[in-house]
């Protein structure tokens, strides 16, 4: 697991700690590249592929954040379920190849980019400018605590989420149901 004490001196590139840093950079790169593909590619299947790459990267980041459980859930749910569902829908619904700029006007692209850059930049500046409080506690990555919390403090939310999922499944079935005539 990741050591809790901040390292004073930057590690050498080819030391073990340096390697960890490099892997982190790779993860960041994977996430950003994946996200870029996901929102920019012309074909939706490639967008899904980008999404998967992005989520694998995000899962890697979660691992760096000391929670392997959430990292694995990220892969399991997003890649194994959400991405599969989306690609299934793509295969069923056969979307047109997407033009970079939608029909609603040539300004949509630059406008979207502007908005997105503004939001991302604003948040980044906010994040850097703010003095975040020092570390209170560091999670040890155990599942037990998550489980206990889920079933005590957050049991109501847990139940609600279950109901939401159930309703989502039923709703999805009802909406997408096609009468097959034969």
């Amino acid at each position: 697991m990741i050591s809790s004490t901040p390292i004073a001196a930057p590690p050498a590139l080819f030391s073990a700690d340096g390697l960890v840093g490099v892997i982190f950079l790779v993860m960041i790169g994977v996430t950003i590249i994946g996200g870029f593909i996901a929102c920019n590619s012309e074909r939706l299947v490639r967008a899904v592929a980008g999404l998967i790459v992005c989520f694998v990267g995000v899962a890697g980041l979660y691992y760096f954040l000391n929670s392997p459980f959430v990292a694995m859930m990220q892969v399991l749910i997003y890649v194994g379920a959400v991405a599969v569902t989306i690609s299934f829908a793509i295969m069923l619904a056969a979307p047109e190849e997407q033009k970079k700029i939608g029909v609603s006007g040539p300004l949509v692209g630059p406008f979207g980019f502007g908005t997105a850059a503004l939001i991302a930049g604003g948040f980044s500046v906010l994040a850097i400018r703010t003095e975040w409080p020092v570390i209170a506690k560091i999670n040890d990555g155990s599942i037990k605590k998550i489980g206990i919390q889920l079933l005590t403090d957050y049991s109501m939310v847990f139940e609600l989420i279950s109901i939401v999922l159930l309703i989502a499944i039923i709703g999805a079935l009802v909406i997408a149901r096609v009468e097959r005539k034969n």
Partner: protein, 331 residues
């Protein structure tokens, strides 16, 4: 921390080697086994018992040209076979072969293996979609519904085992079973739960493993008499080779999981030789069963397959889950 990471990298290399060697020689074993079942000799010309056949096949595949069909999505077309191989290799990292032989044991080992296994179906989707072939496309659609349908009973059955062991750590699960043969999860008597349905649970898990690895009788993705070769119809050369190896690597992972979850991992019924050999023995017996089943049964239909999952396996595994939960409370 850093040492573990190096360990992991080293282990990944070992895992790749192990997966590749297994895949190659399982192909050989499959061909020999199938031949014996059909009363043929099988590959027996190259080397003793035809043991040089797999490397020669590999050389042949590598020497071939990778043909990308016109109109195919090149990036995904090339990415798909790689995607087929990597989950299995990643999963090897966390599988404990014995008390000490494990690359990197993490406390959510089961979750990790399932997480990576679930990405495997993406490879089929991409391969099927990008090939620009209607057969491949149909195969991809089938593969999705199949993997979705069988992940559910598989996970539910796994949760039963996790409940009994009280941990998602593969080491812990094996330790919990290692007292005697009767503590194995497949045998209900001395285990924590005393659940008499555990053999059924084992069977469900085994069937799901067959389905998840696209093995006969659930090889609908590549149903060769219907969809020509399914998602890898357009693949030749090493692209096909990677799919092929990926299939066998997945089989090994599936068999490893079955061994760990139900057959007590490396724990020995009687201590003739060290645990790792017991593990391998159980592993290869299971794989032999895979091969045996493949050459015995005809293929199911897609609706038969889904019916089996939704009408039989999922209800049974749910019943089993509830029963186990109740029994753990009682005892």
């Amino acid at each position: 921390m850093s040492l573990t990471l190096l360990n992991v990298i080293f282990a990944v290399v070992v895992a790749i080697a192990f997966a590749a060697a297994n895949a190659a020689y399982l192909v050989w074993a499959e061909r020999r086994g199938a031949a014996r079942i059909q009363r043929r000799p099988g590959p027996n010309i190259n080397g003793p018992f035809g043991l040089l056949q797999p490397p020669l096949d590999g050389i042949k595949l590598m020497a071939k040209q990778l043909i990308i069909p016109g109109g195919a999505d090149k990036v995904l077309f090339i990415a798909a076979p790689v995607l087929a191989m990597y989950p299995a290799i990643m999963s090897f990292v966390t599988i404990p072969f014995s008390d000490t032989i494990v690359a990197h044991n993490i406390n959510v080992g089961i979750l990790m293996i399932f997480a990576f296994a679930s990405t495997g179906s993406m490879s089929l989707i991409f391969a099927g979609w990008s090939s620009r072939n209607k057969y491949s496309m149909m195969s991809a659609v089938r593969a999705v519904s199949q993997s979705v349908a069988y992940e559910i009973p598989m996970l539910i059955t796994t949760i039963t085992v996790v409940m009994i062991a009280g941990s998602m750590d593969l080491m812990e699960i094996v330790h919990q079973q290692s007292r005697s043969i009767l503590h194995w999860n497949i045998f209900p008597l001395l285990g924590k739960s005393h659940n008499l349905l555990m053999p059924a649970s084992f069977l469900i898990f085994f069937i799901c493993t067959l389905a998840e690895t696209n093995r006969a009788p659930f090889d609908l993705g590549e149903a060769e008499s219907e969809l020509v070769a399914g998602f890898h119809t357009e693949y030749g050369s090493m692209g096909f080779g990677l799919f092929f190896m990926g299939e066998y690597a997945n089989i090994v992972i599936g068999a490893c999981m079955t061994t760990i979850l139900f057959l007590g991992g490396w724990s020995c019924p009687f201590g003739l030789f060290p645990g790792v050999w017991w593990f391998l023995l159980k592993l290869y017996l299971l794989i032999a069963t895979f091969i045996w089943i493949r050459w015995t049964f005809p293929r199911t239909t897609i609706y038969g397959l889904l019916n089996l999952s939704w009408k039989i396996l999922i209800p049974l595994s749910l019943v089993n889950l509830l029963l186990t939960a109740g029994l753990i409370k009682v005892f």
